[in-house]
């Protein structure tokens, strides 16, 4: 059974540690850090976990872990996944 998860559109730096999210878009796709994220495979549609938000942001997607600072985190629009997980 696939239950529709509850979603909420926010900027990544507003998420809390432990929360899951899906990347929606980047506010500045030309920024060098965002371009770095893109070549690392962190693209719209990617599901990730925010592992830590202090001292900086630590995100994990698949087997990849990335550290970004607040400036970069605030350029990423995400769909926060609350309630049920996606059953696939």
């Amino acid at each position: 059974m696939i239950r529709k998860p509850v979603r909420e559109l926010i900027l990544l730096h507003r998420m809390k540690p432990g929360q899951k999210g899906v990347v929606v878009s980047f506010s500045e796709p030309g920024d060098s850090a965002i371009r770095r994220l893109m070549v690392l495979g962190f693209l719209p549609g990617e599901i990730f976990v925010l592992e830590r938000s202090r001292p900086d942001y630590l995100i994990r997607f698949g087997y990849t872990r990335l550290a970004i600072n607040k400036r970069v985190a605030s350029m990423i629009l995400v769909n926060k996944m609350t309630g049920t997980m996606v059953n696939r």
């Binding site: 796709p29 690392l40 087997y63 600072n69």
Partner: protein
């Protein structure tokens, strides 16, 4: 054509085992050198694949042909210029999903590709199942599963590589071609039709690489096209498509997902192992902070600073050089070199052999050997990026980012090496900022120990520390003012923790040591010659005399001028000179403190100045010299007035 040794280029993301493959193919016989026109190092070596000799190049970590960092741009330039006969992409099997995008780019560039699906052991341990044959059929190139740590799959990889080199295994047209959105596709096709030159990569890849500004690449392309005007128009046309880079990346990822359907089976459970638990411990600000402090203290301060710069240097310099070799050299010179000037140039106190060569071999070698050993250890284990993550927030406050922890910590060991390590920072602004801080406010191990011994009283030590901190803050804000203070974007991949292998660490340490010695040896020989010129031209006493008036203004006797001049030649000579002067009882407590502060902040040593000049140019050196001279003198003046206050004078004794 067939006379030429075939060229094999190894590419792939960082930390996937490229260098391991390089060492296996070449037997670790690498020649590391700058790629022409850049400061990026490439390892080249002669190797053997099956029965034929090949030239192998190990490229720096590389995420995409849409290159961002100087290292990536060099790799791209290399592929475009050199027309390799074989490109081996090394992939971390655990991260196949996202590394396949690069495979698609390399295929799109029309390169003769072979994929090494490395770290299969780790992938298997994590429960991943990969059908490499199916993937190979879909991609149209060979995919060889390997675990290069254990040499697994190496034979098959060589067999496939030989087949590509012989030309008997040609890349087939991929079954499912990569499709971009129609608007983008049209612009790309248009761009391709504009290009006339001949390149090592496909015209489509050339057009795509034009999406980023990279002056070196543009020059390369415009010489082949004969006009730069057209390139500009081409780029404008490409950028008329909204977010072309995002669209390209998204299309490649879609394609990877299609290709991996049925190829990759991921276990449903989340990865959670011992390494994972340790990783969490290391990135936690409390526990990780303590580990970081321990690593800095035991690793850099005790092992590199204490054992390397102390015990080993003493052993080599005093026991071996000063007691055995130097007397021999001097006696030999007296016998065979009748000219004093030549004798002074080669031996005696400041000669090429006794100063230049001695510095390099008896001081630099042990310090750097211990340093590179420890550094390779924390690098290979994956600890370094975790430390950078922890410290990033603090570093941003002084206009740097977490990666600057490397050069700044190094500065406590040897400033010259630290300046060299500022190369690892991304923007020029950060590099200059770090170099300024290093030159100004970070005392190196050579002087640190002696200064600490000079200031036995708590009050004096505290005042010294406060002055150094003040200078650090002044330099940090001054640098931010000069070089700009935009909080730099920070994005760092944190690789999994791995148990480092001793063999790899020793190879790496040896290679780095060789490279570093080649960099500093000419510098020290140059310094010996410079001192010789100063002494013979009669400038030496004049320089010392010129130092005296400003020293008198901060209450220091003329005898101290010589100390500062020695301090410029070599930091610990300055500190040692001060130590001797204190023992003669010439200086009171206040003067000792003043001299210690000024000496710490005083202009960097001549080796560091030379390195600064080589890396950042003469104008920057002038700036650093003026800043350090001014700041150290100002700090001295401040201490002079402070110690004039009776209360403080009493405390200092």
């Amino acid at each position: 054509m067939s006379k030429k040794t075939p060229l094999v280029v190894l590419v792939g993301h960082p930390n996937v085992g490229k260098s391991q493959l390089f060492n296996l193919l070449t037997g670790s016989q690498a020649v590391v050198s700058n790629y022409p026109g850049t400061t990026v190092e490439l390892a080249r070596g002669k190797g053997k694949i099956e029965d034929s000799f090949v030239e192998v190049i190990d490229s720096p970590g590389f995420y995409s042909l849409s290159a961002l960092s100087p290292e990536e741009q060099v790799t791209r330039l290399l592929l475009l210029r050199e027309r390799p006969d074989l490109v081996i992409q090394v992939i971390d099997a655990c991260n196949l999903g996202r590394m396949l995008s690069l495979t698609l780019e390399l295929l799109e560039a029309g390169l003769p590709l072979l994929v090494a699906l490395n770290m299969m052991d780790e992938a298997e341990a994590a429960g991943l199942k990969i059908d490499s044959n199916l993937l190979a059929r879909r991609l149209g190139v060979s995919v060889v599963p390997t675990a290069l740590v254990a040499r697994r799959g190496l034979k098959q990889l060589c067999r496939e590589a030989a087949a590509v080199l012989r030309g008997s295994s040609r890349a087939q047209v991929p079954r499912t071609p990569l499709c971009y959105p129609a608007v983008l596709e049209r612009q790309l096709a248009l761009g391709e039709s504009c290009l006339k030159g001949s390149y090592g990569i496909s015209r489509r890849a050339v057009v795509i690489s034009l999406l980023h500004s990279d002056p070196v690449l543009e020059r390369e392309i415009s010489t082949r096209e004969g006009s730069s005007q057209q390139l500009r128009l081409l780029r404008q046309a490409l950028h008329s498509v909204p977010d072309p880079l995002l669209q390209l990346a998204a299309a490649r990822r879609r394609q990877s997902q299609i290709l991996l359907k049925g190829v990759l089976a991921v276990p449903s459970a989340e990865p959670y192992s011992m390494a994972e638990r340790l990783s969490r411990f290391l990135v936690n600000p409390w526990s990780g902070g303590m580990v970081l402090a321990a690593v800095l203290y035991f690793g850099f301060y005790r092992f590199v600073g204490g054992f390397g710069a102390g015990t080993l240097v003493k052993l080599l310099e005093e026991r071996l050089f000063l007691q055995l070799i130097a007397p021999l050299l001097n006696r030999w010179a007296e016998l065979y070199l009748p000219w004093t000037w030549l004798r002074e140039l080669l031996v005696l106190d400041y000669g090429i052999l006794t100063l230049g060569l001695r510095y390099t071999v008896t001081i630099i070698l042990p310090i750097m050997a211990t340093f590179f050993l420890f550094f390779s250890l924390i690098e290979d284990s994956g600890y370094l990026p975790r430390a950078a993550y922890l410290i990033n927030n603090l570093m941003e406050k002084i206009g740097l980012n977490g990666k600057a922890i490397i050069p700044l910590t190094l500065g406590l060991g040897c400033g010259t090496l630290a300046v060299l390590a500022t190369r690892t920072l991304e923007s020029r602004q950060e590099r200059l900022q770090a170099a300024l801080l290093l030159s100004l406010a970070i005392p190196c191990s050579a002087q640190l120990g002696l200064i600490l011994a000079l200031l036995p009283r708590m009050v004096a030590l505290l005042l010294w520390l406060i002055m150094i901190m003040l200078a650090f803050c002044a330099a940090a804000s001054g640098g931010a003012l000069l070089f700009g203070r935009e909080s730099p974007p920070f994005c760092l991949e944190i690789p999994p923790l791995r148990l480092p292998r001793p063999g790899a660490i020793l190879t790496k340490t040896a290679a780095r040591l060789k490279w570093y010695l080649r960099e500093v040896l000419p510098l020290f020989i140059g310094i010996s010659v410079l001192i010789w010129v100063l002494r013979y031209s009669g400038l030496w006493p004049r320089l010392i005399a010129a130092l005296q008036p400003p020293l008198a203004a901060i209450g220091l006797p003329p005898e101290t001028a010589l100390i500062f001049f020695y301090g410029f030649l070599r930091r610990d000579y300055g500190a040692a000179g001060l130590f001797d002067l204190v023992r003669t009882g010439l200086l009171d407590g206040g003067q000792v403190l003043t001299a210690a502060v000024v000496l710490t902040l005083f202009v960097p040593c001549v080796a560091q100045v030379a390195m600064l000049g080589r890396e950042y140019g003469g104008r920057f050196v002038l700036l650093v010299l003026l800043c350090t001279a001014f700041l150290s003198w100002t700090a001295g003046l401040l201490i002079y007035y402070l110690t004039g206050i009776p209360l403080i004078m009493n405390l200092l004794g």
